[in-house]
């Protein structure tokens, strides 16, 4: 790997999801030098795993394509994948950052021809599909992944598969000798865009996510809709592969709950409303959706999307925090128990599939930051002068939707540029 050149006029962006990509691009398109590091083999982040956006029902991959084109065209921006920040020292305008890079075992000779993937046999859970399908031990994370290179799963190193991958490659791109590497760079400002992860649904014990196959999370449900995803784009029950036409969406699964995440994750209401349209699109009048909610937070001008779904006779809304889920052994149907607070009726409702509108948890736990950072009680980074030139972007700053995450990222890019300009001014 060529040496990374960075100075105290360089901006480091940590995290290559939509917030990190945006922050990096906006700064680079202002003429600043930027290094973008991403811990996974590809940038793209969680939006690359979404089928559609609310409220426009457009495809996140369209925006990703534009951003990737911008990245490829910009010589101020350098992307490092499989890389994490292990330490930060110094101060605003002059940080020393230690980066740890894991081996891809595939170098820049790779043409993404796919011969290595054809050659290997071992299969692993596909992270891109949240483990709902398998991928090969040599793989391209997804069809738009960037860098446009394959990657070898570290588990195949030392096995016959690794040799097969190497033998299949005509371009000398498979390099089994690659190892961990560490480098220390100097940067002037840091944009922290490490994003979110879905709350561990297994911890919501009464919902039985780890016991009942037909209880899935909203992020898994989203993957089902991808025509090239684990179910070929069909809404199917994991237990028996049957079409799931009667689907319950449980809001605040892990959110607004002192036992779990005490914050509201903001996006889940709109996400479920959106997902209810998938159901209708796929099964027409046979579709039946039920949304169990506390408050529908279809905030601001996109409330009309909520109204549209509300007007749909096949989608019903039940104001209730679901108490527990059991399983009807005969049918495999999850049965939801609780009290409809509008009128105080008890219910025990069977559905064919349950989707937990899972909460957003900061990816990096409070004790996982490489330097002292002011966080709020929920673990999101506060905007605070004590953080120096360490600026949070996107969901590391709060539970945000894509639009707001991008605004936040753009704002953080400016804050970083202000530091860089000051450094540049001081150095003439």
């Amino acid at each position: 790997m060529s040496e990374v050149i960075a100075t105290n006029q360089t901006i480091l962006v940590v995290g290559g999801g939509i917030s990190g990509m945006t922050a990096a691009l906006e700064a680079a398109e202002c003429g600043k030098q930027v290094i973008l590091v991403e811990k996974n083999p590809s940038i793209g982040g969680r939006v690359s795993q979404l089928y559609k956006y609310f409220p426009k029902l457009c495809h996140p991959k369209c925006g990703l394509e534009i951003n990737l084109r911008r990245i490829k065209a910009n010589r101020n921006l350098r992307v490092m994948t499989l890389t994490e920040v292990s330490g930060i020292s110094g101060e605003s305008g002059n940080y020393s950052v230690t980066l740890k890079t894991r081996p891809r075992y595939v170098n820049e000779n790779c043409t993404a021809c796919g011969a290595c993937a054809e050659a290997v046999e071992s299969e692993f859970d596909d992270e891109y599909n949240y483990g709902l399908s398998k991928r090969k031990g040599a793989y391209r994370p997804f069809n738009q992944s960037y860098p446009e290179r394959f990657v070898l799963d570290p588990a195949i190193i030392g096995t016959a598969d690794a040799d097969k991958a190497k033998a299949a490659c005509k371009y000398d791109a498979v390099d089994l000798e690659m190892g961990d590497s560490e480098s220390t760079i100097t940067v002037g400002a840091i944009i922290w865009a490490t994003g979110w992860k879905p709350y561990d649904a297994g911890k919501i014990q009464p919902y039985g996510y780890d016991r009942y196959q037909n209880v899935v999370t909203s992020v898994e449900f989203e993957r089902m809709l991808d025509p090239h995803g684990p179910t070929g784009g069909k809404i199917l029950r994991p237990s028996d592969g049957k079409e799931a036409k009667d689907v319950a969406f449980i809001q605040c699964a892990g959110s607004r709950d002192l036992n779990h995440l005490k914050h509201c994750s903001r996006i889940c209401c709109m996400a479920s409303l959106k997902q209810s349209t998938y159901l209708r699109e796929q099964y027409g009048d046979d579709a039946k959706g039920t949304i169990y909610y506390i408050d529908i937070r279809a905030i601001d001008r996109i409330d009309d999307f909520h109204q549209m779904v509300k007007d749909d006779p096949n989608i019903t809304f039940t104001k209730s925090k679901v108490a527990s889920i059991t399983e009807d052994k005969a049918t495999g149907n999850p049965v939801l128990h609780g009290v409809d607070t509008e009128g105080y009726h008890r219910y025990s409702n069977p559905h064919e599939l349950v989707v937990l509108a899972i909460g957003m948890e900061p990816s990096v736990p409070a004790n996982g930051f490489p330097m002292p950072v002011v966080l709020n009680e929920e673990g999101f980074v506060e905007q605070d002068e004590a953080n120096g030139a360490f600026f949070a972007a996107g969901c590391s700053s709060d539970a945000l939707d894509v639009n707001r995450a991008v605004q936040s990222a753009t704002a953080s890019a400016l804050r970083a540029i202000q530091v860089i300009n000051k450094v540049a001014g001081a150095e003439g």
Binding site: I18, E26, E29, C30, Y51, Y53, K56, L57, C58, H59, P60, K61, C62, G63, L64, E65, I66, R70, K72, A73, T111, C113, N143, E148, Y171, P227, R256, H263, C264, D295, R297, A298, I299, D300, R301, I302, D303, D304, K319, E342, G343, N376, E377, E378, F380, E382, D398, A399, V402, V406, Q407, S408, T410, A411, L414, R415, I417, Q418, N421, G425
Partner: protein, 738 residues
């Protein structure tokens, strides 16, 4: 321009060498493509391959590089050479990956590849390296319109980055809506109590910053120019006008409180003790931390009821269809005004959905619960006058009961209406620039297409894109704060900071003649040949970004730094006088012409596919990646936007014997996905008129099909091509083969 010299480079890697006769392709590049240099390489994107190309550029004078290898989307960083044009013949994703590896099909696969080599050379021949726009604005100053928290923040952030700012405020003081508040919702942890609005702190910071010039009691009476060279007339109430020059503009014109007089059913205007949220702030300011007194008789308020969504989220006449986003937090804050002063005061919030998102929102809501504010899910039907105070009639949705309660004071949580000026899409225009309007314009743009920024739904001036909230439709002008979307102060501050970056980026880009998003960095710009122009105005009307004005003789007047390089004007022009250096009627038209059209008895149809480079073309690439296939008769050309498709391409293609034409653009309509706004829609309209041409040529109308294709249509896009192949199979070959 120095002599043109085409270098054609044919890659044999990724199976190309095995599947294709690359010697023949090299011959074709020389013979048909007129490439002076043509080479094959086993692994063209390798360091050695790139060195070969660079050496030819340096030593042989190659200045048109034609790379016949993978898709233009792949290895674009490797195949990136300065000072030359680069054309890509897509032999991998476009030929060998989408065609089965079968000996019987070898011939047609080779023909596909040969055509793409011819087309690549033709494109190279008619392109010149973009030299960047001639018109380069160099102004560094940012104009901020609106002196509320949003505008103040934008001004301070721009100044803090090192750029001068003019801040224009129509009233006599800075602070906007926040200046009329007693306190604001907290912006830092802990999110428990109302905090200072910080208007005074921001105003002092502006005062102290010598990079910021403030114009009070002033409005913008005229804006002209383009990024890097805007000119604005700033006029005071008394009629004094100064003209200043700017590089970019931030519009932070905010929102006006909804007029509660439209809510007689809630007794607003009838009872003095029914107030809106703004009036409650005034009562709190008057109380200054002491007991809040009600307007009718000055009695200390002991019970206050807040009615959420007053006149909002409703399709009733005169109501707002949307949620104003910040009212739930505002009512909690206002209820705290009472509770913090005296915990005994009864405060009740009647809501439908309580909307306090994120960590700060939910913490603040929880703090309200801790302070014993009552939250009740209730639907208010009316407010009537009572003996002791207004009586609220509502249905308690939890108890499922109709109830009536008296309060000392009722607060209507009313919404916000954006100050977005003239709705240019919905006002009649008598003459260019002459509008029949009685709404005050915010910017008074002298643009051909209207005085203000186009409105989105409900009058907000937002971007239409989820991924790109700053994708403005008027280059170099960015909105932020509640004018673009209902929002609270904290979000407005974040938004203002983002808009400040975009404004700075726009003026920096203008300095070097570089396009703004989404073709950021593009140095090409529209070149207009005045001699041929018939003044038909189609380009000025159709430009989605209002980049083209008309001069006094009614010729189009291009403002390059407003241009986004989509080519819609080029597609619109019936006399073809508009082009870009590397994208023109010729760069595409000559590709169409240079494809080999076999004679009729060969029974080899040709289908021209014009595909949007951002969605349909990647979908076809990914289809190839996934192992899909489509007809060997297809010849795909990526276009910047379907809006750039000139009907001459279609007519020429039909005349030269193509049997079918497929156009693939983005979704149009209200939820359009076209990043050039109306490109796809306009292409559909233009193509609906192509029937006449088909009729004149005596051709079946099925031969031309226009589709909306998304980037995820990985299976569908190839299918559409195959359907056209089937159609051609059924109706027969075109008689226009020579």
């Amino acid at each position: 321009m120095a002599d043109m010299k085409i270098g054609a480079y044919i890659c044999k890697g990724c199976g190309l060498g095995e599947r294709l006769d690359c010697d023949e392709l090299e011959t074709i590049a020389k013979r048909d493509g007129k490439a002076q240099v043509a080479r094959q390489h086993d692994f063209l994107c390798s360091a050695d391959g790139l060195k070969t190309i660079q050496a030819d550029i340096d030593n042989e004078g190659v200045n048109r590089v034609m790379i016949a290898a993978c898709s233009r989307r792949a290895k674009s960083e490797a195949f990136n050479f300065d000072g030359v044009t680069i054309s890509r013949a897509n032999l991998r994703e476009g030929v060998i990956w989408i065609r089965p590896d079968d000996d019987e099909l070898r011939e047609t696969t080779q023909e596909m590849a040969a055509d793409y080599v011819r087309m690549g050379c033709a494109e190279a021949k008619y392109s010149t390296p973009p030299a960047s726009a001639q018109e380069k604005g160099t102004n560094d100053t940012v104009l901020v319109v609106g002196g509320g928290i949003t505008g103040m923040t934008a001004a301070l952030e721009v100044a803090r980055t090192g750029y001068p700012v003019h801040l224009v405020e129509k009233t006599g003081e800075l602070g906007g809506a926040a200046a009329k508040m007693w306190k604001d919702v907290p912006r830092h942890s802990p999110y428990t109590d109302p905090v200072d609005t910080e208007v005074a702190r921001l105003a002092a910071a502006i005062e102290a910053d010598n990079r910021i010039t403030v114009h009070l009691n002033s409005t913008i009476t005229k804006t002209s120019g383009a990024p890097g060279r805007f000119s604005a007339d700033i006029s005071t109430e008394s009629g004094n006008t100064v003209t200043e020059n700017f590089g970019a503009i931030i519009q932070a014109s905010g929102a006006t409180p909804y007029d509660a007089n439209q809510l007689p059913e809630l007794s607003y205007g009838k009872s003095k003790d029914v107030v809106d949220r703004v009036e409650l702030e005034q009562l709190a300011i008057a109380a200054n931390g002491g007991p809040i007194k009600r307007p009718s008789d000055g009695k200390e308020v002991k019970k206050v009821t807040f009615i959420q969504c007053a006149g909002q989220r409703s399709d009733k006449e005169g109501h707002l269809n949307y949620c104003s986003g910040d009212c739930c937090l505002t009512s909690i804050k206002q209820a705290m005004y009472f509770k913090d002063q005296n915990p005994e005061i009864e405060t009740e919030i009647l809501f439908d959905d309580l909307r306090t998102p994120g960590a700060p929102g939910e913490d603040f809501y929880r703090s309200g619960q801790d302070k014993m504010i009552t939250f009740r899910k209730g639907q208010v039907s009316e407010v009537v006058a009572g003996d002791g105070g207004p009586r609220v009639r509502f249905k308690d949705l939890i108890l499922d009961e109709d109830l009536e309660e008296e309060a000392d004071l009722v607060v209507l949580a009313t919404g916000m209406v954006p100050n977005s000026g003239v709705d240019i899409d919905n006002v009649p225009q008598n003459e260019p620039g002459e509008w029949e309007v009685n709404v005050d314009s915010i910017l008074n743009l002298n643009y051909r297409q209207g005085k203000d920024l186009p409105h989105l739904k409900y009058g907000f001036n937002d971007s239409h894109f989820i991924c790109f909230p700053y994708e403005t439709r008027r280059t170099g002008i960015y909105t932020c704060g509640p004018v673009r979307r209902p929002m609270d102060t904290q979000q407005a501050i974040e938004d203002a900071t983002g808009a400040a970056l975009k404004a700075i980026q726009a003026l920096e880009s203008a300095k070097i003649g570089r396009a703004a998003h989404p073709r950021s960095g593009d140095l090409s710009y529209p070149i207009f040949r005045k001699e041929g122009c018939t003044q038909c105005k189609r380009c000025t009307v159709e430009c989605p970004f209002g980049a083209i004005d008309e001069d006094e003789k009614r010729y189009p007047l291009f403002n390059e730094s407003r241009c986004r390089r989509c080519g819609t004007c080029m597609g619109a022009c019936p006399v073809r006088v508009i082009s870009f250096e590397n994208y023109s009627v010729d760069t595409v038209g000559q590709q169409i012409k240079n494809c080999d059209i076999p004679e009729e008895f060969d029974e080899k149809p040709r289908i021209l596919v014009l595909a949007c480079e951002n969605d349909a073309y990647p979908a076809l690439d990914m289809a190839a990646q996934q192992g899909n296939s489509y007809s060997q008769w297809a010849r795909v050309i990526p276009v910047r936007c379907l809006g750039s498709v000139n009907t001459i391409w279609i007519t020429d293609a039909l005349n030269s014997g193509y049997d079918g034409i497929v156009l693939m653009g983005c979704q149009k309509g209200d939820n359009y996905q076209c990043h050039f706004v109306k490109g796809s829609e306009m292409a559909h309209t233009r193509m609906s008129k192509i029937d006449d041409t088909l009729q004149t040529l005596n051709l079946e109308k099925e031969r031309v099909a226009t589709y909306e294709v998304a980037i995820t249509d990985i299976d569908r896009a190839p299918q559409l091509i195959n359907e056209m192949a089937e159609t051609v199979n059924q109706i027969g070959l075109s008689p226009f083969k020579f």
